[in-house]
Each structure stands twice: as structure tokens, then as C-alpha cells.
Symmetry: C2
Subunit: 126 residues, 2 copies
């Protein structure tokens, strides 16, 4: 049995510098920059919300700005197989995560657990 | 004083029929279709997650499929003014909500409260 759940919302920003996006989205949503962020190469900034609110990640990208979902799981291969069974297609395998496309045309990622209450609250799959 | 918060995630689907998107996203995320959904004209399907998880709305659109954020608030005009002060621009005013664009290029909406714990847990703004 494995588990999965909506793990994070990723705000993909087509920019050379995430600082303006970080200032806007923290202010707009009432989120804080997580301790230790941004990462050394400035590609990501992780934001944390109050209470158990969804994790939000700002990501520097070269494609157009958009928003995508990350599904968190304790078994990436089993979860990818489950999602393909629901109609998703595999776009690419990156080290540590897999990019898929939903039948609705949205790209999303399957990633390792992101939120501290994953084990207690994620959805079990037989 | 007014309050605001991330209220919902809207999965905009370029399709004539949301049923395939509904089947996929409920299965992928472990969400349920809210009672009474879809609405009579089939333009929206509201999904509810376990516990206090973020509300997700599937919306039928004519532009490309994408994901956008809804910021919920008890004072739409005050919240729009606050967000414009943070750098957002107003795209359009629809009856009942306002579409804005973030400095990062993402469109999002300012809407009325969406989640049952809004009053207790939204962020206050002086």
C-alpha cells in the first residue's frame, strides 16, 4: 500500500530573479519564506503558510509563467502507475520526481512527501 | 480591517464537458465532488478534500487549460486595493469577483470567502 496527496502548489515564474515574485506572493497570501530559502542557486523559494496550509514553491523557469500541482507520495513508481491508470501520460522523468500530463491538459509532478503531516493524513491506495 | 487568504485552486479546463476532468482529478487527489455539483450549466464543478484541505474548482474555459489561484476575502474592494499596492494590476471586474495579474505574470481572482474556517483563520489586514 502507498499513499499520496496534493503536496504543494508550484508557481512557475519566467524570470531571472525570484525576489519580486517572492515579495508579491508572500504579501498577497500571508505566507512566509521558509528557513534557509532561497536555495543556493536561487532556482526555488519555498513558502510556508499558517497552520496546515498548503506548501507553495516559487520556481524559476524558462517557459511561460504558470501554476502547477505537485502530488506527494511515499512510492513514486506506484503513484505514477496509479495516475497513468486514471488517464495521465508520462512527460519526463527527472531525478527524484516525474512530470505527467493530466487528460485535462495540465502538467503536474509526482514528488516525495512535502508536508509534515503526510503519513497521518495522505490518502491510502491499496 | 479586512481579511484574506488563499481560498481555492481553480483548474481551468479547455473542454466542452468537465466529466473526464472531474473523474481524473477526484481520483488523482482523493477529493470528492461537493454536494449539488456540477452547477446546472456545467461550467463549474466544486471539489472538496479531506479535513481542512484547500477547495478545488474545475472550470470550463475557452482559453488554454491552466491553473489559477483564488484569494478569498470579506472585502473585495479593500483586498484589490491592497494587492494593487503590492504590484498587481486589475485585468477585469466580473460581477462578484475581480481578475488581477501578479507582477510574476500569473492571473488570479479575488473572490468572496470560499472556505468554512475563513473568519477564524484568514489573515487580518489593518
Amino acid at each position: 500500500m502507498h499513499k499520496s496527496r496534493l503536496g504543494a502548489l508550484v508557481i512557475d515564474c519566467r524570470t531571472e530573479d525570484l525576489s519580486a515574485a517572492t515579495a508579491f506572493w508572500t504579501g498577497a497570501l500571508g505566507y512566509d519564506v521558509a528557513p534557509g530559502e532561497p536555495d543556493p542557486d536561487g532556482r526555488y523559494v519555498i513558502l510556508t503558510g499558517p497552520g496546515g496550509e498548503l506548501k507553495i514553491i516559487l520556481q524559476k523557469v524558462e517557459h511561460d509563467s504558470r501554476v502547477h500541482l505537485d502530488i506527494e507520495t511515499d512510492d513514486i513508481e506506484a503513484e505514477v502507475e496509479r495516475l497513468v491508470g486514471l488517464g495521465a501520460t508520462i512527460v519526463s522523468r527527472i531525478k527524484g520526481w516525474v512530470v505527467l500530463e493530466a487528460p485535462s491538459g495540465h502538467r503536474f509532478c509526482v514528488v516525495r512527501p512535502q508536508r509534515p503531516d503526510f503519513a497521518a493524513n495522505a490518502n491510502p491506495h491499496a
